[in-house]
Amino acid sequence: MNFIRGQRAKIADLVPNGQRFTLGVTINAPGLIIDFACFGLDAQGRLSDDRYMTFFNQPTTPCGGVALATPAGDTAGFAIDLARLPATIQRLTVTAAIDGAGTMSRIASGHIRFVDGGSETGRFAFTGSDFAQERALMLLEIYRKDGVWRACALGQGFNGGLDALVGHFGGTLAEPPTPAPAVPPAPPAPQAPPVNLSKVTLEKKGNSVSLAKKGNAEHGEIVVNLNWTAAEGKKGFFGFGNKRTDLDIGCLFELRTGDKSAVQALGDTFGDYFNLPYIGLDADDRSGTRTEGENLRINGQHWDKIRRVLVYAFIYEGAPNWAEANALITIKTPGQPEIEVRLDSHRNDRPMCAIALLENQDGAVKITKLVEYYRGHMDMDQAHRWGLDWVKGRKD
């Protein structure tokens, strides 16, 4: 069924078992960085238990009733098992909030949908014309009423953004929420970017930004830079200290033709900037001392030949110690804001980190921050369904 704003339905009418399903969320909004979350609320509509806010930093509720899970084709999503939710949770509200500047009126298209066993059973679609100055939205609500779970397409939000949203749910904030203006609101002042004014920093995973489409799909040179520092003089007590951490950048790519492979220093597959795959690696900084770091360059003049590029960093030698490597990835596209990703949610048991996915979306470069840690190339490949054969390699 297709929901319109305000429409309600019983969950049992949407999914046969009425308990288990996945919610897929997608918002196409050029230039906006949007975070999704699912709030588990009590009977008063309050987030009385912080552990029931499911988002990038907290991928599941303690009961497992809500967990991050993105259906194929969506930007984000949540796997829901209503039967697992404690009785105190009366309501689940799926939200979208803009991180950085912009308002929801800039949404080109968006939806939240019910997916049951891979097929869609319900959809609430919306566009920017449904909104004005809102910076945070409540998209869908799933709630108990007389013992029956129901859904309501909300599509309402707050100009004050995530702060106002959390305030609505009774959350306590480090800073007071922005009061909602009573009369025609002035456009909100752009939020101060955390690094500097010319940069867009993707602080959290799942953020994505689609760079505006250029004529004839030309984007100039897209430079992905890895800069990292190896800590000095850390001699390990157990003899590991001599082996220095070596952090490398690389990418998996898939061309329009379906050809796919990797570009990385390991295995001497440095790629080729001027010929297929039009992606080249310019240096291998094995000590972390090269001030300009390692650059992976994508030839934007040939972006039309590329379907997707998965940029990753991995620790080739030495114990994985991401904190020590202090890695910073920047992605530069001419005429576009610089995008910066700092590897700051460390998994020291895993040497591989998928950093960002660059996708060719109708000629535009859509960049999604991932920061997903894996045991190795193969795991990452499988997680992103790349389908390469992997053998262990060595650098000479």
């Binding site: 319109i4 429409q7 309600r8 004005a132 129901r150 309402q156 609101p185």
Partner: protein
């Protein structure tokens, strides 16, 4: 103790509140908690005959026509006093003054400008209608509509009607598309 009705339920007002004469019909809903265009909800009342039509346009009580010709029904607007606490709009009814030909008082709430604002009752929280005995400020009956609406822009919340010489109240909770205009036409009002 007021009786709470579910959709479709009814009670005999004359039995629940003997000698009920001065009635206040209170209608409420939660103000919009989110930003965006406000919900402007309007309460109206149709005094209709046996055939479900108003005797004349004068028996359509709404924001532009606040009293019926004989004074049995009076729309108080947003200015509430006394028993009206919690009501967003209310309508006073003096039962003995209701003309004999009037069989039913149909209580409706509509969303003003709903289509242009792309609003519907599904976005309105905690709507209710209640009947209060103004002589002692006792609430006689209440109907919480919270789940009985979805995408409609006009709702019949309830009706007060004659039955075998008594007055009864029915929780209707029936929604319509088309706003106040559609409801007015349905009840025989000549809408310009």
């Amino acid at each position: 103790m007021a009786i709470s009705l579910n959709k479709g339920g009814n009670i005999n007002l004359s039995k629940e509140a003997p000698n009920l004469e001065n009635v206040l019909v209170g209608l409420g809903w939660d103000a919009r908690a989110t930003d965006g265009q406000a919900f402007d909800l309007d309460a109206s009342l149709f005094l209709v005959k046996e055939d479900g039509k108003v005797p004349s346009d004068a028996y359509f009580i709404f924001y532009n026509q606040k009293t019926s010709p004989e004074g049995s029904v009076e729309h108080t607007g947003d200015n509430l006093t006394g028993a009206g606490e919690g009501d967003d709009e209310s309508i006073k009814v003096t039962l003995s003054k209701v003309p004999a030909e009037i069989q039913r008082l149909v209580i409706v709430v509509t969303i003003h400008d709903a289509e242009a604002r792309r609003q519907s009752f599904g976005q309105v929280s905690n709507a209710f209608v209640r009947v209060v005995n103004r002589d002692n400020n006792q609430e006689v009956v209440r109907f919480d509509l919270s789940e009985d609406y979805s995408t409609e822009t006009a709702m019949i919340f309830g009706e007060i009607y004659r039955h075998s010489g008594d007055w009864k109240f029915k929780a209707v909770g029936q929604g319509y598309a088309g706003g106040l205009r559609a409801l007015a036409l349905q009840h025989g009002v000549n809408v310009g």
